[in-house]
């Protein structure tokens, strides 16, 4: 999956996360903010990298702002944001490889 444009998914509501995915020319870059980052930052980053790898994304700038979101919510919002970012170039969003997602 190629990140060709910007894709956003999620909200600022409690229990959710706002994810913005944009193109990057320097591989994977991740910025994280939110109350869980200090305690679970490593786990969140692992979840992000694992999902990006499963989607076949090798270059992307990911910014996420979480409000106590579960890992599954973070992964879900990232999947949606990547799909939307990849759709910028295509007429329709590429299919998500559900079977290989972690």
């Amino acid at each position: 999956m190629k990140i060709a444009g910007a894709g956003t998914a999620g909200t600022a509501e409690s229990g959710d996360v706002l994810v913005v995915v944009e193109p990057s020319e320097q591989g994977i870059r991740i910025e994280m903010t939110g109350p869980s980052v200090s305690g679970f930052g490593t786990e969140i980053e692992d979840a992000v990298r694992g999902t990006l790898a499963a989607l076949g994304v090798d270059a992307a700038s990911v910014r996420l702002s979480e409000k106590g979101a579960l890992d599954c919510t973070i992964r879900a919002r990232l999947i949606a944001a990547c799909g939307r970012a990849a759709a910028e170039e295509n007429e329709t969003a590429p299919g998500i490889p559900w079977e290989v997602l972690p």
């Binding site: 998914a9 999620g10 509501e13 409690s14 229990g15 959710d16 979101a69 579960l70 890992d71 599954c72 919510t73 992964r75 879900a76 919002r77 999947i79 949606a80 799909g83 939307r84 969003a93 299919g95 998500i96 559900w98 079977e99 997602l101």
Partner: protein, 289 residues
Amino acid sequence: MLYVPGNNPAMLRDAHIYGPDSVMFDLEDAVSPKEKDAARALVFEAVKTIDYQGVERVVRVNSLDGPHGLEDIAAVVTAGVDVIRLPKTDSARDVRDADDAVSAAERRCGRAPGSVGLLAAVESAHGILYVREIAASSERLVGIAIGAEDFVTDMHTTRSADGVELLVARSMLVMAARSAGIMAFDTIFSNVNDEEGFIREVKLAKQLGFDGKSVIHPSQIALVHAVYTPQADEIKRARRVISAAREAERRGSGVVSLDGRMIDRPIVERAQRVLAFARASGADIDGEE
């Protein structure tokens, strides 16, 4: 069956804690067109990851006539869903098309064939007129349900307190379910503040033969359970009927009597169903058969 919007992470996370028998994550009417992809991903991750403590997980997908239905099925089958609810089912063909899509998804993700059930919601006059064929259309079909809001709109009427506009449709749906040997589910009751009206409707549904009801608020769950859970006197009588039937069998007699009355086979079957419901509700059945 507790309805949960598929685009709300907090509700997806907590749905099971209110004690429903099943949760239905909605990707259809509860989600705006622009958020269908995001809701699909949320439900995929929730079904795959969250431990719902044995509560059955149902997902209402979008219609296969539109751009989202097939992808919804691919995602939730892969995630491990128990049952897929089909909206606006008008024909047996609708069910078979969904069955084919689910079979393909099971093969792709390596799930056992037939491991995903289907629940068809009938929401139109046409659908009700063909509900018998719908109910018998697929081995995957675990039940059929009536969607009253769309149905009454299609009928050019509105919902009333006594539900007379739904009487024929409800009865036809239950008969079709019984004929096909599957379950029948009643529609939602949208006024969460009208507890008395809700209980009346649940009692009507039970009397018509519905096996359960969809609810839209956790406060409605206990009320449904209270109506459907057999009372102590019902359980006692059911146990006596079963005992009398066993005694007759032991004596080699084809005639079952209790308190001077003959007990026909249907009464024995009803007694068995009462005890089954009692067991399912966790009621204490002392020294049951």
